[in-house]
């Protein structure tokens, strides 16, 4: 079989890379921002991700989910660049975590915050609660809640079993909710007095 000229192959690689990979730049950027927290580090991470993706483009299987492939590269690059958190954070059991959510809701009801998330704009506090999560939990929330990845997709990206994604995700949500209820209580947000979302400490 006759091989195409090198320049034609290069052109085809560039065309495919632009169409398949570069289209996900905004998504990879958001993902990097959520991992790195710092904007300059996120920029470096994005650049490293796409340079690695371009260098190993022949290993990408056309027709598969390119965005997930880029997320894997991005996450690996991020983890290589920092010391992993030594603290053991894996959640025990997804089912227990799911049931624990009911306890958090009961606590919110008891405190008068049963409609907290529907009635108060807590954007800043939610972002802070997300940032404060241990990294494996933050990754699960980032992929599923911010990037609309399914549990299976997130498991592939994180290279862990689906059950681990579920338990990390559910615990992460519980930790965030507890932090947000504490925040609302500390901030003196009046429970259940608003009928429409309003800015935190709204006027």
């Amino acid at each position: 079989m006759e091989m195409p000229p090198r320049s034609a192959a290069q052109q085809e690689k560039n065309r495919a890379f632009e169409a398949e990979a570069l289209r996900w730049l905004p998504d990879v950027t958001r993902f990097a921002l959520s991992l790195a927290r710092d904007e300059a580090d996120a920029d470096d991470l994005v650049q490293e991700t796409f340079l690695k993706a371009y260098a190993s483009w022949d290993r990408f299987t056309p027709g598969t989910e390119c965005r997930a492939w880029l997320f894997v590269i991005c996450r690996n690059a991020f983890r290589r660049g920092r010391v992993r958190e030594a603290r053991y954070v894996d959640a025990d059991d997804a089912e227990l975590e799911a049931l624990a959510a009911a306890a958090v809701h009961a606590s919110a009801l008891q405190s008068g915050f049963g409609e907290l998330f529907a009635t108060v704009d807590l954007s800043d506090a939610v972002a802070r609660a997300l940032e404060q999560l241990p990294e494996p939990f933050r990754e699960a929330v980032t992929l599923v809640d911010l990037h609309d990845q399914s549990y299976d997709e997130a498991a592939q990206i994180l290279d862990v079993p689906v059950g681990t994604v579920r338990s990390r995700l559910f615990r992460a949500r519980r930790l965030m909710q507890e932090a947000l209820i504490d925040h609302a209580r500390d901030a003196g947000l009046a429970p259940n007095t608003q009928s429409q979302p309003r800015p935190e400490g709204g006027r």
Binding site: N14, L25, T29, D43, Q47, D121, L146, R173
Partner: protein, 94 residues
């Protein structure tokens, strides 16, 4: 016939109790269940005074989390720098 089918389906819908809903609530809200299972939970939640408030609470929480998606403040600058770095590796935008 349509009414009969509806009644038949309702009569044979898998019954779900509150405990099961609690165990599968996140899976339900994340769209991870089969259509039949999701429909059964939706049906239960709509009629259950215990499960409905928690479902609304969790759904509102997920919406609040989604609203925190961060966008890069200067996407064009980032894209320009990236294309420049890729060009050194042989990439050329068409």
């Amino acid at each position: 016939m349509r009414i009969f089918n509806r009644l038949f389906r309702r009569a044979h819908a898998p019954s779900i109790d509150c405990d099961t809903v609690m165990r599968q609530l996140w899976d339900y809200l994340d769209g991870e269940l089969t259509a039949d299972r999701a429909a059964a939970i939706r049906q239960h939640v709509e009629m259950c005074s215990r499960c409905k408030p928690q479902t609304d609470f969790e759904a509102a929480f997920l919406e609040a989390v989604k609203r925190t998606r961060r966008e890069h403040p200067q996407p064009e600058r980032l894209r320009g720098a990236l294309l420049e770095a890729l060009a050194k590796q042989g990439f050329a935008s068409s």
